[in-house]
Amino acid sequence: MNLLRNALRALPAYLWSGWGAIASLLLLLAAWEWLSVAYGDLILPDPRTTASTLAGLMTEGGAWLELATTARRALAGLGAALLLGSVFGIAAGVSMTASMMSRPIMTVLIGTPPIAWLVLAMLWFGTGDGTPVFTVFIACLPVVFVGAMQGARTLDGQLRDMASAYRVPLSMRVTDIYLPHVVSYLFPAWITALGISWKVVVMAELLASSDGVGAALAVSRSHLDTASTLAWISAVVGLLLAVEYLLLEPIKREIERWRMPA
């Protein structure tokens, strides 16, 4: 609760610091506009057309439903990956043997392209929610797992000694010493996993589902409707940007305040 209050208090200053980010995004929009002028509307509709198409999709009502479906799948897979990846990653980090054993397995998982998992998932789960959820889960799991394992592996033995010299009980050792350290590794991994989940879910839906943003993208591609394709892409990317910079980044700043330079 305290954390949330502090994050909210820091929000205005944080938003003010976002001018630089907004400026660079506007530069990107300018480049987009320039390219669309150069290549024409069929190849690349300009940002205003895209925005009005997106607004049309929103007001017609279908867009929110598709976005919600996609978000539900992404979050389900991501949630499972965060939970299992964190728990097993920490467990593996505590034991030397387990971390040595799991490392190559995680390398294999990271190295396997999500599209390969998607094909397998389509064979296993069909066209329901199962396919995108599983693909997201398996794509995010190794990232979270490795982050958690690193966090647990790098626990400072000196601080542990200090804690036992000061007779710190186990519960307090977990909350005051182990957890803050592990979270400083876990949280960035979680944010990375969120980005992966959002990308992978759209890909999975494109190939395997009949609803969701990915399916809508497949439809607009088949209609050669570049404007609505770009509208969907902007919606997905915009949502991710909003979640990352309005929600996660302030929390991250608050959690890692102790690292900031004086």
């Binding site: 000196q158 000694d161 000061y166 007779r167 690292r259 004086a262």
Partner: protein, 308 residues
């Protein structure tokens, strides 16, 4: 060289030295170590250590780097398991200071000071009040208390670590060269704060240092250790109270201790030009006594490279 040392050692293990180095057995808690040995992976680091710390007494362990001082302190602090020998500690509230401040980087100074109090289950308001009061007395300002460790200078971090130990009102303080990284002015100031604190409450102190002068300034008893494996080669008592020792006294005593061939050998110093006859230590000051000189297992008057 090691062979020379081994062959010079008596075949049977000598009895732990019975001479009690501290003051005569007094009431109150004490730390008593007899015949303590320790080895890491078959490599002996400590051999036949005997020492006593009574309440209100400062005992300094002096020795070169790597002579097992820190291992000994960790054994006393209970961070390592005693494998061989006896270690009785009936102090109820020991506190420890390490070579590095070892503060929690994600907690502000105030919470770091209050760590031990929190571990003891003391409520937030009380522990913060106590931590604040002591922190301010040790030269931190209100502003520092809210800062994270990396925002504080090395001296300030050491103050926080000292406050974290003292706020527990320990009856035994274990110091592992806590201020060795600080400049001499800061060091003197922090030891002054420590002595002031000791005057107000009876507290036993076991301190480790490689700085003989620091030991002479602060301690009632000085044990000089030899390296690999660590043994106690010399025991000195200084009778003048620490508060009454001025710089001149500290320099004179340190200089006289450094004349002792055994001490010189421990630190791998070349022998003095005109060695003193007999046992080697000729007290030039009435305040310093040699107590229960342990027979160091070394061949006398061998070359300077002989490790004692």
């Amino acid at each position: 060289m090691a062979d020379a040392r081994m062959s010079a050692r008596p075949a049977a293990r000598p009895e732990p030295n019975p001479a009690s180095p501290g003051p005569a057995a007094s009431a109150g808690p004490r730390l008593e170590v007899r015949g303590l040995e320790h080895a890491f992976a078959l490599r002996p680091v400590l051999e036949d250590i005997a020492l006593d710390v009574a309440a209100g007494e400062v005992l300094a362990l002096v020795g070169p780097s790597g002579c097992g001082k820190t291992t000994l302190l960790h054994l006393c602090a209970g961070l390592l398991q005693v494998r061989s020998g006896r270690l009785d500690n009936d102090f109820a509230r020991p506190a420890c200071m390490f070579q590095q401040p070892r503060l929690l980087p994600w907690k502000p100074a105030l919470d770091n000071i209050a760590l031990g109090l929190k571990a003891a289950g003391i409520g937030r308001a009380e522990r913060e009040a106590r931590a604040r009061a002591l922190g301010l007395r040790l030269g931190l300002v209100e502003d520092d208390l809210g800062k994270f460790p990396h925002q504080l200078s090395g001296g300030m971090q050491s103050r926080v670590a000292l406050a974290r130990a003292l706020v527990l009102e320990p009856d035994l303080l274990l110091l592992d060269e806590p201020f060795s990284a600080l400049d001499i002015g800061l060091k003197t100031e922090l030891y002054g704060l420590l002595l002031e604190h000791m005057r107000e409450r009876t507290m036993g102190v076991l301190m480790i240092t490689h700085d003989l002068m620091e030991a002479v300034r602060l301690s009632d008893t000085i044990l000089v250790m030899t390296p690999s494996p660590g043994r106690i080669a010399r025991r000195f008592a200084i009778d003048r109270p620490a508060m009454q020792r001025d710089d001149a006294f500290v320099h004179r005593v340190t200089a006289s201790l450094l004349q002792d061939p055994v001490v010189r050998k421990c630190f791998d110093l070349a022998p003095v030009a005109t060695p003193v006859a007999g046992d080697g230590f000729a007290p030039t000051l009435p305040a310093v006594r040699l107590i229960g000189a342990e027979t160091p297992a070394i061949a006398p008057a061998a070359g300077r490279h002989l490790r004692c």
